[in-house]
């Protein structure tokens, strides 16, 4: 299977795990999408470094975009890429982050270290964060 196909399959599996297997249903929660939108921004930054500098390189046969020649960075945007990384990486990241959070929430639900709960933020941060 290509990387493109694998990521699509991965998303399908992760969504199924959340909604029907573990029944954590984090995909239906505001807290998930708020934290995921923060994560995706930093994914673009760090993944942009890994792919822009060519630390990791992708094979054009496995992705929507094409291979890039040695020593030349991939397209910043376009050719199936977003901030140097193949757009497939967004789905790969979704699978990695969502599977992690499904298991984390599920473990809490069955009683594995539900406590101590997160928060409250330190007083010094209150003004920055606004009211709850």
């Amino acid at each position: 299977m290509t990387y493109t196909e694998l990521t699509l399959l991965g998303v399908l599996i992760v969504v199924t795990l959340d909604l029907y297997v573990f029944r954590t249903k984090i995909l239906k929660r505001k807290v998930f999408w708020a934290s995921y939108s923060i994560v995706i921004f930093f994914q673009l930054v760090t993944n942009g470094i890994l792919t822009g500098f060519g630390i990791v390189e992708y094979n054009g046969d496995a992705i929507i975009g094409s291979s890039t020649a040695q020593e030349s960075p991939p397209a910043f945007i376009g050719d199936g890429r977003l901030v140097f990384a193949p757009i497939e990486d967004l789905l790969f990241g979704f699978c990695l982050v969502t599977l992690t959070l499904i298991i984390w929430v599920w473990l809490g639900r069955i009683g594995v270290q539900r406590e101590p709960r997160s928060g409250p933020p330190r007083k010094s941060l209150e003004r920055l964060l606004g009211t709850n």
Binding site: T2, Y3, L6, G10, R23, T24, K25, I26, R29, K30, V31, F32, A34, S35, I38, V39, F42, T46, I49, L50, F53, G54, I55, V56, E57, Y58, N59, A62, I63, G93, L96, V97, L99, T100, L101, I103, W104, V105, W106, L107, G108, R109, I110, G111, V112, Q113, R114, P116, R117, S118, G119, P120, P121, R122, S124, L125, L129, N132
Partner: protein, 111 residues
Amino acid sequence: MSKFAYLSVLLGCLMGTAWLELFLRTKVYRRTIRLILTILPVLVVFSIWDAYAIAQKHWTFDTRYVTGITTVANIPLDEILFFIVIPICAILSFEAVRSARNWYAGDEDSK
């Protein structure tokens, strides 16, 4: 840029999220058992994916920028650490939002 380029990115991720544990009191590192039990299956699943992708040459690593230490199935040590660091960052972000907003996440009570 050096053999530690990839590792530096991961270190940056850990340092960039550490303040959440301190100032938003996410208490993620403190829930060590839950953290380890979360990471282990994720690490296994994504290492298998990585091993397949490396074998099929979906992606390759520039030997100048990785440690050069490889683990099972030709997976670079750097990648193994990636599958540990990124889940930690994801959980820290998730718990940070909960700390700030008190939104329901589904693990507050038993099913």
